[in-house]
Symmetry: C2
Subunit: 137 residues, 2 copies
Amino acid sequence: MKKFSKLEIDTLIELLDFSKIEGALVPVIAQDYKTGEVLMLAFANEEAVRQTLETGIACYYSRSRKKLWKKGEESGHVQEVQHLFVDCYKDTLLLKVKQNVAACHTGYYSCFHREYEGGALKIRGEKIFNPDEVYTA
Amino acid sequence: MKKFSKLEIDTLIELLDFSKIEGALVPVIAQDYKTGEVLMLAFANEEAVRQTLETGIACYYSRSRKKLWKKGEESGHVQEVQHLFVDCYKDTLLLKVKQNVAACHTGYYSCFHREYEGGALKIRGEKIFNPDEVYTA
């Protein structure tokens, strides 16, 4: 798990461009650090980026709930940051993470577990957990 | 290269949720279909999604230029779509592509060629082309 110092965090925040997405957000891609599988895309505001770097655990901003979203807080399916990449425009982050259990709330490892083919969404990959048993709140 | 029929395209458009990003857009992640390397993140409106599926070549929407962005039109560095994945909320696309030459306008294979480490952006990967020689317009 990778954590950053206060100075490193301040430096990154200064460097990032939050102006491109309404609400001062940057898109964040989470990718399995070993297999390269893309797990999900979410958004982060400044505070979510700060928390991610401070704790080493991915934190996003939920646009629907309008608040910080500590991924895995309820399920325990946290993402431990191994590497952090920044794109050429400094407006998008790529987190290479160690995913605990699975990323998707539907029970699949990746949120991108469906391929569009033959006019329909075809499931790729195995279901790892039963959401009804995990999200009981 | 993967192309889709008019009916398949209409079906996908109907299914996608363009309402989450201002300007009726969906984020699109492009990933190398063989190595799994994440190449870039961009946005697409309905027309860009249609063109991508119709031609099999990735097309985005440029928010800065406010128009369709046929990736590689000037440089020839097109992305041939091999697989198209949709996320659990149907508001984000993942294209697995065959990238010609390189994805990044700076000359690197991926737009995410810099890792944030020790308070600075460290270059990872080799420079593949010289932008001054490619973008002469």
